[in-house]
Amino acid sequence: MLGAWFDYTVNGFVIGNIYALLAVGLALIYGVANLVNFAHGSVYVVGAYVGWAAITYLGTPLPVTLLCVVVVCALVGVGIERLGLRPLHGASRIAPLLATIGIALVLDQVVQLIFSPDPRAVPMQVPDWRITLGGGTIGALDLLIAGIGLTSAAVLYGFLRFTKLGWAVRATAQDSDAAKQMGVDTDRVNLVVFAIASALSGISGVLVGMYYNQINPAMSFEATLKGIVALIIGGLGNVPGAIGGSLILGLTESYGIALFGTSYRNLFAFVLLIAMLVWRPNGLFAARRSLPPEPMTGTFIARSRPLKVPSWAVAVVILLAALLPLLDAPYLLQIGANSLMYAMLALSLTLVAGTVGQVSLGHAALLAIGGYASGLLALDAGWPVAVAIPAAGLITAALGTLLVFPAFRLTGHYVSIATLGIGEIVSLVILNWTGLTRGAIGLGGIPPLEVFGYDLGSVQGTYWLCLVVLVLLALLQVRLLNSHLGRSWRAIRDDSVAARSYGVSGDRYKALAFGYGGFAAGISGAITAHAYSYINHETFGATISILALTMVILGGLGNVVGAVLGATLLIALPEAFRFLAEYRILIYGIVLLLLIRFRPQGLMGTV
């Protein structure tokens, strides 16, 4: 028994070391660039594959493998900074964060295109012996990972403490303007930091590959998330804190698995994340509990004059859309219906992220809640579909608001991280709450769409229903935006302090925004569930959250017409160019990057 606990402890430390290699880089980058790098896990995957390729094709011994990984990943890091982020100097602070998401999509897809999505086994490069210690065992690989973790920490400490460039890194992290006035080339410091952070991340990837004897391109997202959780535990930008946070996370996960089983592992991580964000957003090791004032409030993304679309033009487009089923092109209608469902989600997100300025990265969770609520009401409670769908909208509004409520006092980066974590929690709860949700099997046999006896299960029916619902939601949203409520929302986004001083209570208005957003997204998820007849915990994943964000940025944040346009373009265009299907996500990533760089106000302009 004691031996088993010893093994779990060793395992926790090893995983903690792997997380530390990720989190330290995130902390360094946050320090100098004030940026949570969402592409960090993608570099880790690049590292894993470079290591695999070096061993498989070149037969490199371990030190050479690691050297290859360090060199390639450092170069990737330099590329990210130089090409992706430096051109955004002077842009609003959320812009680089969104850019790193775009970079992550691109890197992941490139890796997948080169190496295929199939998992690969990384050949073990250390002798396979284990020593027995008090009932438990430690293997050579455990020692190697611990050794690399400790060595990296020591080298990093020496670098930051005793070298001139290290001082420059610390000085830049504390006050980059002042550092410039000492003659520090802060651009170069940024470049160096990205190189170091990316190299460490790559090493982490290779070691994980050896530890689990498996790598695949999809593991990047989880790595980014885990790194961020460790970073938040230690405190954003706190390098030693990141190491401590990583070890805590590793041990928590390992003991959690011991007590509750593997499927709870990530749930622990994300609950820990949310708990930290709510109670200790500065991290465990900070003296202050309140967050430093974040310079990220204020101007959001890009101010612009929204394009005015005359209402007769909107009416004509709606009419044309309503007539589309007469063409008798079921494939086109299917795409149309999909676009409309996404458009509802985009409406919801453009309100939350655009009008209120809470950039949510977990919006697809609302779809999942809506889909499961409606599906379960229809399946298990026997409700008619026409009642279940609006009920699901209301349930999503309530549940969504309740879940985000603890994060209301957060701003900027923290909101994005919290919503990302909440989104993952929702998906994990669905997976683990087998009694209600049927767990990993998913929800099958969901009754088709029908309204009071009229069967809308056909493609035409689905399309028309979606169109009607979307138009109603859009009209409601336009009405809200032009009301007192809409002005208060924008006031909170533009200057929360000023809004408060005018008596606008931030929390209540944020709750209303998430409530309305939850309603629209819940309806969308519910309709999707009935249209597909099967959903599971992965149907509405993080990719959809990112896709939705790309849609609303493409349309213009806060812009209702823009949201519908963005959704239609991003869903319909890849279908029109079907031969590009393989490159779909890659295209989304590139679109996101180009938008942020060249047209942050989107096609229709921000509101």
Partner: protein, 241 residues
């Protein structure tokens, strides 16, 4: 007289759509203390940022030591021999006093020279010697101001730009800081200083400019300006002189 060490020539600068400077021209002669006076929003701090390359002028030129430094990146400008004591000091609060001093010498690589200068600077600011291992952020405002000046000196600059060096200090420290500025100047370092407190600044300066809504309203030798009745109107933001 030789060419001035620093010269701003017909600078027009903007913050977005708002024009801050209108054909601003001024010179700082080598070896002098020159102060730039003015009230809030007169464009004083922007002048300093323009010299340091933190703010790019819409038009006009900045000359330093015979070279055109307009639009150069800040680190290059610092390397060319300008030190900065930024507004509100902007020390590296989590680093020690010693590390802050060495950051001041960031552009240099002559180790013996740096060590000698460290000694010299600590001679000028003996209080800092007692606190070398202390974190800069934990010192009092006056001590931090001294460290900011010492840090600027460590780069062995020809010119030090000081943005409101007496701001937020107790009266006792204000006098001390002014004495130290004179001491630094006596060692041959030219000082270009932005100040709100005109009488204090003119008390130690050789030459002064008064800036009013982005234009030079008044200039002259410090002693003459001190006696000029218009100066009060000008820097208090009264009617144009």
């Amino acid at each position: 007289m030789s060419a001035p060490l620093l010269r701003l020539e017909a600078i027009n600068s903007f913050y977005g759509p708002v024009q801050v400077h209108f054909d601003l021209s001024l010179v700082v002669e080598a070896g002098q203390i020159v102060c730039l006076l003015g009230g809030n929003a007169s464009g004083k701090s922007t002048s300093m940022k323009t010299v340091l390359g933190l703010q790019r002028p819409g038009s006009g030129k900045v000359w330093f030591d015979g070279a055109d430094i307009t639009g150069l990146p800040t680190p290059r400008i610092i390397r060319s021999g300008i030190g900065s004591v930024p507004e509100a000091r902007r020390l590296f609060g989590a680093m020690t006093v010693r590390e802050n001093l060495l950051m001041g010498a960031y552009t240099r690589s002559d180790k013996p020279g740096i060590a000698a200068d460290e000694d010299r600077v600590l001679g000028l600011f003996p209080r800092l010697r007692e606190r070398l291992k202390q974190r800069a952020g934990t010192m009092s405002g006056g001590e931090q101001q001294m460290l900011a000046m010492a840090r600027a000196l460590m780069g062995r600059p020809k010119l030090i730009c000081m943005d409101e060096p007496t701001m937020g200090l107790s009266p006792l420290f204000v006098d001390r800081v002014l004495e130290l500025i004179q001491a630094i100047n006596r060692e041959g370092v030219t000082i270009f200083m932005v100040e709100q407190n005109a009488s204090l600044a003119l008390g130690i300066a050789h030459y002064g400019y008064v800036l009013q809504t982005g234009r030079i309203a008044l200039e002259g030798p410090a002693a003459a300006l001190l006696r000029d009745p218009r100066i009060r109107d000008a820097y208090l933001g009264g009617a144009a002189a």
